[in-house]
């Protein structure tokens, strides 16, 4: 158990560090690679939390699809002088203050959530099921309507992206 706890704290520290580096990196491609490190570490935390399916989706969709899409666009737009320009706007201290303020408020609010101590709850499901099986049953049972709405949303996004990025015939 101590090893798992140490692994969690490594994942947490590495994800915070890679998020900071992703936000601060001068070269956008380096930024993308740090975000990739962040996504993989968050997937590791999902694994430690017992959310195996979520970890797999995180790696496949975030690291596999979304990040590659970002890299494609970055290469497609070909911004040669992006490293010469300033990374941050002049208002960056305000932005840092907003980020710190939000993180501080969330940090303080987390103490007041009144969470019951873990382990006191008793699982009422009876026989333990695999996470994937229960998620599949939940997605096609009580969450069937949101699931179908999500597919509709993805269809709308596909059509919207094609329409937006299409070259207009002059």
């Amino acid at each position: 158990m101590a090893l798992l706890t140490a692994t969690f704290y490594y994942m947490a520290a590495a994800s915070v560090a890679s998020a900071l580096l992703a936000v601060m990196a001068k070269n956008p491609v380096h930024s993308m690679l740090w975000v990739l490190a962040l996504f993989l570490h968050v997937a590791g935390i999902f694994l430690l939390l017992g959310a195996e399916f979520l970890a797999a989706v995180q790696v496949i969709v975030y690291a596999g699809a979304i990040l590659i899409f970002y890299l494609f666009i970055l290469m497609l737009l070909d911004l040669p002088d992006v490293e010469a320009q300033p990374r941050f706007g002049r208002h960056w201290p305000l932005a840092a203050g907003a980020g710190l303020l939000f993180a501080g408020f969330a940090w303080l609010a987390r103490a007041g959530t009144g969470l019951a101590p873990a382990g006191r709850r008793v699982a009422t499901d009876g026989a333990p099921q695999s996470s994937l099986e229960t998620i599949g049953i939940a997605l096609f049972g009580p969450f069937a309507l949101p699931f179908e709405t999500a597919s509709l949303l993805l269809l709308a996004a596909i059509i919207g992206a094609v329409v937006l990025a299409r070259r207009r015939a002059a």
């Binding site: 975030y62 932005a95 980020g99 937006l164």
Partner: protein
């Protein structure tokens, strides 16, 4: 439970703060969208942590829907960026001042 839920919520708060800073401070639109992804990941983390703590599957299901919405947002956002850069090269917010009065 490996760590208490408060630790996960704290980690999520820190990641969200970093993403918020990146969104507000960066000038490149692509990196602003990447900062949004960092924020969404922080929220997913807290959802998974709550789901684990309450032994409720709905946290994970909600996180899956957040990932779906993130994918849709990326597709539309980067499509907009391509359409913008076709009209006017450059990908910083300072390039988009046409509506400024």
């Amino acid at each position: 439970m490996i760590v208490p839920a408060e630790v996960i919520l704290g980690l999520s708060a820190i990641l969200f703060g970093i993403g918020l800073f990146g969104f507000l401070a960066r000038r490149n639109i692509i990196l602003m969208l990447v900062s949004v992804e960092v924020m969404l990941n922080a929220v997913n983390l807290s959802l998974a942590g709550f789901g684990r703590h309450l032994e409720d599957l709905r946290g994970q299901v909600l996180a899956l829907f957040v990932i779906v919405v993130a994918a849709a947002e990326v597709a539309v956002g980067l499509g907009l960026l391509i359409a913008l850069s076709r009209n006017k090269p450059g990908a910083t917010v300072a390039d988009l001042t046409k509506l400024k009065w």
